[in-house]
Symmetry: C2
Subunit: 231 residues, 2 copies
DNA sequence: TGGATGATTTTGGTAGGCCATATTATGGTA
DNA sequence: TACCATAATATGGCCTACCAAAATCATCCA
């Protein structure tokens, strides 16, 4: 423990967040949670009233969300909540497969038991949330599983990319985890990732991570095309 | 021949770009080209004067660049040009390797000769630029090589990610391509990618693309540590 | 010389206004 | 009644001006 860690321990947690960041989080959350639906117009002056901030802030927030891909800007018409089409969702899952596969391989090659242990912890949380029918918890702990995967090998840039893409498919994620059998299949697939990592099997971890995302993608495609996923 | 096609043929190409987008491009270009150096403060009112636009615009632009990772915001001190450290650069190259490898594999599996032909065209442009010592041209055509790789298999999301990350290491790229032998080695590695794609060899294309980025990464690391030593 | 104090700079945020375009009423004419 | 031209409204894009709080710099005094 160095001085930094020591002073950090006693440092009072300031709000620190600027109003803009607060507003950004609020609007992002509103979109991700479905309060604003895809295609909904985001009228600047209305948002000002709803958020209680000035247009300056709202505009900066919209610009930020635009570059995140959550908001689309129609020329001469203004911002709307971005609509995710079939193909784009597929591409996002594909990228996640590549990056999460990469991270899983790196974890395995680390030969550090602490990694598998940390992942197991997240996995337990996920299973418990499934048992409790706490779907928000499933999502949160799944995210934290993957965050561990990336942060254990110090890949915060890749984690940032995955995170950025993930918010865009959040509503799909919340549908895929609710499908039949996903409460058994999902954790089983993730357990295979952890197993491979514990064995130090890079190729296996890579493949298992790819498989997990790929199956989620397949379910998402099924959900998107309207028919109910049956497994 | 419908009315749309007819009127589109004669429609005057309006600027269409909003002032904000113009300013965004200007500032991004100024950072990427090195006019603003890493660590430089970006004082809002100074930028207003230099760009000839209002603070509203400047603030939106800074926010946008912040979310792109080109600008960092120090609390209560304001925005500066983001500094790229060793490790982050390595991570960016690693992500590019994963995604470009993926795209190369997809191209190969397409078994479409037109893809290899298009890539060869870009490759010729790169070689010509090297011969002419036109380093800006080398960078531009290298980008277009990779853009082709992604767009030929309709992976515009992945291309967007790669593009986003690439601007952050632009100055490194312009240094790596000037290294000894890179004018021979670089195109040779890219030719291997094209060959594998032409043969329909997915694994080979994946590996060749990975190798190319990996060697660029190695050079970048050398440049970075060399500069740190001499600076 | 060193430190307190005041002035300046700069960000974070607000208010409100102007203009151009796009949509929507509205009303008059065939 | 159907339809078109026109006016009203809504909204984005952009601007100026202002304020408060924090950081920085200059100054002056002990």
């Amino acid at each position: 423990m160095n001085d930094d860690a020591h002073s950090a321990a006693i440092r009072v947690e300031r709000p620190a967040k600027t109003l803009r960041e607060l507003a950004l989080d609020k609007v992002r959350e509103a979109i991700v949670s479905g309060y604003f639906r895809p295609g909904d117009r985001l009228v600047e002056r209305d948002l000002c009233a709803q958020l209680g901030v000035s247009r300056t802030i709202v505009r900066e927030v919209l610009r930020h969300l635009e570059s995140e891909g959550l908001v689309a800007n129609l020329p001469n018409k203004g911002p709307i909540v971005a609509q995710l089409n079939h193909d784009e969702a597929k591409q996002i899952y594909e990228i996640r497969a590549a990056l999460e596969g990469m991270a899983a391989r790196l974890c395995a090659e680390q030969h550090n038991p602490a990694i598998a242990d940390a992942l197991d912890k997240s996995l337990e949380d996920i299973k418990r949330s499934y048992r409790d029918k706490d779907m928000a918890g499933v999502l949160a702990h799944t995210s934290s599983f993957y965050q561990t995967l990336f942060s254990m090998v110090d890949r915060h840039v890749a984690w940032g990319v995955v995170n950025l893409l993930t918010v865009r498919i959040n509503h799909l994620r919340s549908m895929t985890i609710k499908t039949q059998n996903r409460d058994v299949q999902g954790p089983a697939q993730m357990a295979r990732i952890v197993d491979a990592i514990r064995r130090g099997d890079g190729d296996g971890a890579y493949q298992a991570a790819m498989d997990h995302v790929t199956s989620a993608s397949a379910i998402a495609q099924a959900v998107l095309s309207g028919r109910q996923a049956t497994d």
